[in-house]
Symmetry: C2
Subunit: 462 residues, 2 copies
Amino acid sequence: MSAVKDVLDHVDAGIDKGLERLFELVRIPSISTDPSHASDVRRAAEWLAADLRSMGFDANLRETEGHPMVVGHGPKTDGPHVLFYGHYDVQPADPLELWDTDPFEPVLRPQPDGETHIVGRGASDDKGALMTFVEACRAFIDVRGSLPLNVSFLFEGEEESGSGSLAGFLEKTAEELRCDAVLVCDTDMWDRDTPAVTTMLRGLVGQELTITCADRDLHSGMFGNAARNAGQVLGDVIASLRGENGSVLIDGFYDGVEDLDPAIAELWAELPFDEEAFLTDIGLHIPAGETGRTILEQVWARPTCEINGIWSGYTEPGFKTVIPAKAHAKISFRLVAGQDPEKIRAAFQRHVRDQLPDDCDVTFADHGLSPATSMPTDGAFMQATLKALSEEWETKAAIAGTGGSIPIIGEFERRLGTNALLVGFGRFDNRIHSPNEKYDLSSYHKGTRSWVRILHALAHAN
Amino acid sequence: MSAVKDVLDHVDAGIDKGLERLFELVRIPSISTDPSHASDVRRAAEWLAADLRSMGFDANLRETEGHPMVVGHGPKTDGPHVLFYGHYDVQPADPLELWDTDPFEPVLRPQPDGETHIVGRGASDDKGALMTFVEACRAFIDVRGSLPLNVSFLFEGEEESGSGSLAGFLEKTAEELRCDAVLVCDTDMWDRDTPAVTTMLRGLVGQELTITCADRDLHSGMFGNAARNAGQVLGDVIASLRGENGSVLIDGFYDGVEDLDPAIAELWAELPFDEEAFLTDIGLHIPAGETGRTILEQVWARPTCEINGIWSGYTEPGFKTVIPAKAHAKISFRLVAGQDPEKIRAAFQRHVRDQLPDDCDVTFADHGLSPATSMPTDGAFMQATLKALSEEWETKAAIAGTGGSIPIIGEFERRLGTNALLVGFGRFDNRIHSPNEKYDLSSYHKGTRSWVRILHALAHAN
């Protein structure tokens, strides 16, 4: 029988109340990238601080130049000290018309396979995920009056918009936030039944560019052919980024990128992963990345160059025969080990400038700049976590890579000198950043139970 | 002394009141392409019908499936019968932030060179232009109690959005609108001092395309590289349209297009046209069209392919690391003699489909489909018009080409069996379709005076 059966039973009995709390948080449209939602972002921070205080934490908001941080410290106790990091901001919900329900009015939707989906923006990323840890702490306090080890919280409100304030904040509060391990819940399980600790993350370079040709929009009948068209120039630039074989054509882009270690390639080849199903599930059937590399390699181990948004000229209903003077694009790169984000940014900007006719101009704005990171897999905390996860899910936990980026993981290492443990209960089909984002009820419930076991295991590690 | 000195003097004395009437019309935001402005479009039609009635015309609105037509007939008199065509709809005013003043609150702005600009959307295209003819008629009626010939009006409210109802309307009302000449005022002067009759117009094919890749927007960390990016595909499509030498790469695009007649080339070479000034005036210095062809040839005699608008993915402030499932573009072609609009449309759609990966799809919507037209330059009406213009401007009137399209000109020929006479007082720098559109006060004033002379000349032609 588990040493934390009393706490686990309490989690089971209180799942409905736990869901109500998550719903309250999801209802707050804390879209960090959209200035018009700034007060909603703050409201989500205040909700979390109040919730932590209700559990006996010393918790409050800390102002930054962007959105506020939430910092909370539990009552001092014996044992090691963990810092839990999560983010309370969410991605924009557009395109709204593709949602089946209001993104900020979460609902439970029972599924034919017996699962129940919690549907709403942030239900998974990261509100549902971070609340699994909060609920685990609450269960300990409810049942035993205390936590089995020292727990602090750091909640950020700018993760979806580049974490602009985090590095400076960690630098300033390094003493206060010093800990033995950073716990993060923002990743996926290996599959529906297999829990995972993620140890490889890609870096991110986000760039917004504005190309300017003529000094005003022009009439295509009077100036067509003769005047450079900014939409055409942007198309030429975009086409120049990727070759027919799917590789990125920016000079020096793959410098320092090593081919996949054959041992890891072998390990990944054994994983239950269906390339065809991966594509058909999203309505496609032809892999778009570098030819000759598996999809897992493409999404976990190879750097990307993706167009995230483009706009130019007349985009309203109807037609306007205009030659646009300006064209815009948001373009991002996922980086792997060996790539220097600043060098990639410089190479990209040089590449774009090289494509432009001499009488056109381009400006760039930064939206994120972080290197890839990988965490060591030995260590007592890691081993204790894997064991606790394996017990809860009754199957051996996996050590996984991910194609995503959590830029702040590297910051914890640099600013606090502490490695992060990335445990997540998300599933591959959660549609994070997409319409109809969902979190499985079993992710929420067994995720909370998993943290109960992990907290107990970490308290007794070493 | 002119035979119409009394009428011209009346125009001079009444210019302020004429401006007030134009301002009233410009204040109505009759943007035909934007459904939210439908009632404004109708309001502009009603304003014109009421103005014609105040001059003794039998004028009213005629419903269509789109915006209404305004038809007006003056009192029967001796002499030939002319039909004046103009359009009372305007282009959208965006981007609004680039206007120095409210686009729908016209203002007079005196210039350093002594000219005065009438600034507002439609001040030139086509409200200012059509009112020159209305004011000329009013002056005759005010001074002499009658017009020197039979005058009918046809005002359209869909010219800026493809003239969808016009062909059918002309077909239906051919008997009622039968006339000896169609007069149109929607073109430019040769230069500030030289009036012009335009005898060559390009055709237009407008296409809106939507590319669909995945069945939803995707997270670039989870699907980047592997999943096709619609923004990337659109960029590839756009880049495939034009070669490095500026030529259009669609298969068969130049079929039937003849090189410029050496005699016309020689004539154009003698025209006072400064290629460098043409480009520097719009902030550019490198011609973008086919290498080896002059700018006048590029904009008057060569077909175009221009990107009018593109959009895909996240285009709001901030950043969203999304792989867009869809990408959109509005693309138009100006056609010259020898090009069949239906063949061009088919060739374009085939070209786009050929660029797409097999698991992506594209749909097209039509926004205009008309061939190029050219008018004969002999004939008594043409000669009378050139003579009247030369008298008013005290310099020989030019016979000019234009890069623009007035698709309905061909319709008049087909449906009514009548050629059009295109007389315009616009200037090259009027910024039609752009922010800060203007019409010179001298265009308005001397344009009205020109029509007085032309009406008199046409009444005595033959």
